[in-house]
Symmetry: C2
């Protein structure tokens, strides 16, 4: 193999251009020229534009939030729930801040309604794991009488929704200058939420 990185280069370049111009708006030629090869060379690695799109999606489905966020030292903080929630959110946001993740959510928001082949792409699908983790956390807290007795599912929704809006509003473009505002908003959200549920 001459350049074994070409296949991966196609994927990252395609994600970049798809997230900027949409699936229909970014052409195979754009992707190829952006890498520095001819469009026909791409077909040595992927058999169609659609396959590139699917490959991007597979790459993201492979890694779960749990592995990214729920580290052991974080779990230990569960004895101090407010501190735990704050650290959890900080970890989540710093995870969301990565260039690749930002591009992916952009692509998700843009193409959630467009059927591309047989691929499913939905906000619900994207949030489902985060919500179930939160539900689990609040369920435990409730069981140990740390928080009020409210349906954990409702708590998970209430905790997740403002974070998602913050993400949608401030974490989808390229400049990171607003990252302080993001942490500020997220922190205020945790404080409001904690005051609402603590016993």
């Amino acid at each position: 193999m001459k350049q074994p990185n070409t296949k991966q280069l196609i994927l990252s370049t395609a994600l970049d251009l798809f997230s900027k111009h949409g699936y229909a708006g970014a052409s195979i030629r754009h992707i190829a020229r952006s890498i520095g090869i001819r469009e026909s060379a791409i077909y040595n690695h992927y058999k169609s534009k659609e396959e590139i799109f699917s490959a991007i999606l597979s790459e993201f489905k492979a890694v779960t939030i749990s592995e990214k966020i729920l580290s052991d030292d974080l779990i230990e903080d569960l004895v101090n729930p407010e501190k735990f929630l704050k650290r959890f959110v900080i970890k989540l946001i710093s995870q969301w801040s990565s260039a690749t993740e930002r591009k992916f959510i952009r692509l998700l928001l843009m193409e959630q309604f467009t059927k591309i082949g047989s691929t499913e792409l939905s906000v619900s699908g994207y949030l489902i794991e985060l919500r179930s983790i939160c539900k689990m956390i609040f369920s435990e807290m409730s069981k140990h009488n740390i928080i009020k007795k409210v349906d954990p599912e409702i708590l998970a929704n209430q905790f997740t929704a403002p974070l998602f809006l913050i993400r949608t509003e401030y974490m989808t473009n390229d400049d990171v200058k607003e990252i302080n505002k993001v942490y500020d908003l997220a922190n205020k959200h945790v404080e409001f939420f904690w005051n609402a549920v603590k016993l």
Copy 2:
């Protein structure tokens, strides 16, 4: 004039197709064939595809949420804040449920990152008026010692965010079968929120 409705037909058809396939994905020919005319006929009414897009946006900027939602009988409910909030949300959601509004938010989510001509299209811009109305409401409630003393801007964010997520998740596709779930989620949200802020 033969068919004075053609110009408006182009607009509504374009909104429909743009919201289904995106701006780049819906062609002038699609729009024309969908109306039942040839593509060149469109140029008797709009001078470019971009102008059609701008016209759609102008039509939506023209009407404000205040006029749609804040009726007099609703204002009278302010003496019973929880009832007021519940009715406010119901009115908001039934407003959001209209086919045109659903198509518009879809278009907004799809094209918020794509520069189309000089048009600005952002979630923040879409939410700014709703948020400022909520901020005003909570500011008044706080002044009259109906709710806890919390920064009205934070309250507006906390009140708005879950509603927006509900809208994004359940109110963007064509089937209305999930509308009961929407009202249920919204109602639970108001209850959680009210318990968090009431004195």
